[in-house]
C-alpha cells in the first residue's frame, strides 16, 4: 500500500454531505422537467394550428374533481412521510393508502376522458395536431402517474407488512418528492391544455 494523502486537520470539523437519494431525485426531476417543457412547448406551438377538427373547445371539459384528487394526494403523501418519521406506522399505511386511492381516481378519470374522446368525439392521436399534442402531453403525464402509483403501492405493501420503519423515512421522502413533481406538472398541464389551449 502506498502513501495515502492524510493531511492532519482539526478532527472537530463536522463533515456533512447531502443525501445522495435526494440529490439524485432532484437531478431526475430537473431532467424530467426539461422533457415536459419540450412537450408543453410543442403543445403551445400547435394551439389552433390543426387543419381539421375536432377542436379543444368542442371536446375538452375541465377535469376539476380529478385535479383536486391528484393535488390533495400531495398532502397525503407528505403526511405519510411525517408519520413514518415519527414511527407511527399505522398512520403511515393509512396516508399511503389514501394517496394511492386519490392517484387511482385521477387515473380512472383520465381513462374515462380518453374513452369519451376516442369513442364519442372521434379524436385520436392521428386525427389532427390537437390530438397529437393532447394525447402525448397528457399521456406522458399519465405515464408518470402510473409509475408513481406503482412505487407508492409497493411502499404501501411494505408498510402493511410491517417492513417500513423510520429508518426508511429518507427513501419514502425521495419517493414523495417524485410524487410532488408529478402533481406540479399536472398544474402546468392543466393550465396549458384546459385553460390556455381551450
Amino acid at each position: 500500500m502506498s502513501e495515502t494523502a492524510v493531511i492532519p486537520h482539526s478532527p472537530t470539523e463536522v463533515w456533512k454531505l447531502p443525501s445522495r437519494g435526494i440529490v439524485a431525485m432532484a437531478c431526475l426531476i430537473l431532467a424530467e422537467s426539461a422533457i415536459f417543457i419540450i412537450f408543453v412547448v410543442a403543445y403551445v406551438f400547435y394551439i389552433g394550428k390543426s387543419v381539421s377538427g375536432p377542436t379543444p373547445r368542442e371536446v375538452l371539459e375541465l377535469p376539476i374533481f380529478s385535479s383536486i384528487c391528484l393535488l390533495s394526494s400531495s398532502l397525503t403523501v407528505h403526511f405519510a412521510v411525517s408519520a413514518l418519521h415519527d414511527s407511527k406506522r399505522g398512520m403511515c399505511s393509512l396516508w399511503l393508502g389514501l394517496t394511492v386511492l386519490l392517484g387511482g381516481i385521477f387515473l380512472a378519470a383520465t381513462a374515462r376522458e380518453w374513452y369519451q374522446l376516442i369513442y364519442h368525439d372521434g379524436l385520436t392521436i392521428k386525427t389532427n395536431l390537437f390530438g397529437t399534442t393532447y394525447y402525448s402531453l397528457v399521456g406522458l403525464h399519465a405515464t408518470h402517474v402510473v409509475v408513481g402509483l406503482f412505487m407508492l403501492s409497493l411502499a404501501l405493501l411494505f408498510s402493511l407488512r410491517g417492513g417500513l420503519t423510520s429508518n426508511h423515512t429518507e427513501r419514502l421522502e425521495v419517493l414523495s418528492l417524485y410524487w410532488h413533481f408529478v402533481d406540479a406538472v399536472w398544474i402546468v398541464v392543466f393550465l396549458v391544455v384546459y385553460v390556455l389551449g381551450r
Binding site: S2, E3, E13, P18, A24, I125
Partner: protein, 562 residues
Amino acid sequence: MATQTPVTAILDKTPASPPRRLLFQVLHDWLTTLDHKKIGLMYIVYALIFLVIGGLEAVLMRIQLAIPNNHFVSPETFNRLFTMHGTTMVFFVGMPILFGFGNYLIPLMIGARDMAFPRLNAFSFWISAFGGTLLYFSYVGGSGLYGAGSAPDVGWFAYAPLTAHVFSPGHSTDYWTLAVLLSGVGTVGTAVNIVATTLCMRCPGMKLSRMPLLVWLYLITSFMVFVTISPLTAAQIMLMLDRYVGSHFFDTQAGGSAVLWMHFFWIFGHPEVYILVLPAFAFANEIIPVFSRKAIFGYPAMAAASVCIGFISLSVWAHHMFTVGMGPGANTFFTLSTMIISVPTGIKIFNWLATLWGGKIQFTTAMLFAIGFLFQFLIAGLTGIMLSVSPFNWQLSASYFVIAHFHYVLVGAILFMIFSAFYYWYPKITGRMLNERLGKWHFWLFLIGFHLTFDFMHIPGLLGMPRRVYTYEADRGWMMWNMIVSSGAIVQTAGTLLFVFNMVRSYFKGAIAGADPWDAWTLEWSTTSPPPEYNFAVTPSVASRRPLWDLKHPEDPDGNYE
C-alpha cells in the same frame, strides 16, 4: 521432513500471483461488475471500438470525395456513411469515452470508494452499449423482413420531414431514433450518478472549492446533460410517435412544423458540443498544470467561466438555423449570444496560458497533445466567431467550412485532449507507462494529418462546396483541396494505428509506472497503479486543492493561498 514456515507467509493471504481464471470467469466478472473503474474502462473500450468504426466510415467518405465524380461508393451508401459517422462519433464515441474517464477518475479524485449508485452506473453503461449495437444492427435489420437491411440515411441531425415514413420507408430511421433515445437514457443515468457522487461522496475536507477542476467541469457537464439531453429524448419520443402511431408532430402535410424539429434538435445539439468539450477542458485543467509544474492559474475564474459557458450555451442553439428564415430579430439575438460565449471561453484559454507562464514546461507526449489542443482550440474558437456573424454564416453554414470548423473542435480540441488523457492516466489505469517514443511519433503523425485534413477543408467551403454531397462537379476548382484533405485522413489513420499499437504493446511491455509517475498533485496518484477495488485503504482527508503538493511540500502547503 518438517520445514519451518515463515510467519509472514502465513499472514499474507494473497498469493503472489493469483491463479489463472477461466475465460468465462473473467467475462462474468466484467459483465456483472459494479466497480466504477471497470465500468469506466468498459465505456472507454466500447468508445474506442466505435471510434475505429466511425473513423473507417470517414476514410471511406474521403476516398469517395478525393476526386470529382468518383464511383467508389454509391450515393445511398455515402448518405448512410455520413449519417452513421456523425451519430456514432457524437453518441457512441464522444459521450461514452468522456463518461468513461469521468467514471474512472471522479471517485478517485474526490477520495471516494465508488460512485454513488453502482447499479445505476452499470445499467447506464449497458443501456448505452445496447443503443450503439442497435444502431449498427440497422445494417442487418433496417428493412425488416424484406431484404438485407440498410443503415439510416437521414443525416445525424435528421431534419424533418426527411424522417417521415414517406421519405424514409423501412426501419432504418426507427433504429436511429431508438439508438439515440437509449444512449440518452444511459447518459442521463450516468449524469445523475456523477452529480450525486460529487455532491455526496467527497472525502473529508474536500469542499466544493477544493475539488479538482476536472470534477467541477464534470459536475457542470452533468447538469447540462439534464437540461439538454432531455429535450432530445422528448423530440425522439415525438418522432417515434410520428413513425409508429401516426401522430403529426413533424408531419408538414397535416400542419406540422419542420422548423420545430430543428429547434428541438439544436436545443440539444449545441449544448452537446459543450458537453463534449467541457470534459476535454477538464483534462487540460489537470494535465497542463502538472507539466508546467505550477498550480492552475485562476481556479475560481476557471470554475466560474465553465458555469458561464454552461448557462450561455443554452441560449445559442439557433445559430445553427441562421438560414431557415427566422427573421432579422432572432438572427441578431443569436448572433449576440453566440459571440458572448466566446468571452468565458477566451478566459479559459488565457488562464491556461497564464498557467504555462513562469512554469517549467515538460514536453511529455501528454503535454504535447495538450498544447496541440490549446493551439487548435484557439483556431476553432476564431472560426466559431466567423460563423457567429450571421451574414457570413448565410454563406458558410452547411458548407465544408462548417465541417472543418466543428472537426477542429471535435478532433483538434477534444480528440487531442482525449489522447493526452490516455498518455496521462494510462499508467494509473494499467500500472504501466505508455511508450514515449512511440507516443511522440503518434503525436507528430496525427498533428500533420490533422492539419492536412482540417486546415485545407475550410477552403472548399469558402469556394461554395456544400456538405453531405457524395460527389461534386469537376469545374468548381474543389478537387485539389479535396485531394489534400483526403490524403491527410490517411496520415491520421496511420497515427491512430500507432496509438493502438502503443496501447497494446505497453500493456504487456511498458515500464512499471508506480503510484505517481508524473509527480502530480491530485488524490488519484496517492493510491497504487492500478488502484485496488476499494480505491483507498484509508479514506483520505484533504486540506487544499492539491493534497499531494501539501504532502510533498509540507513547508509551503497550498491551503495558505486559497
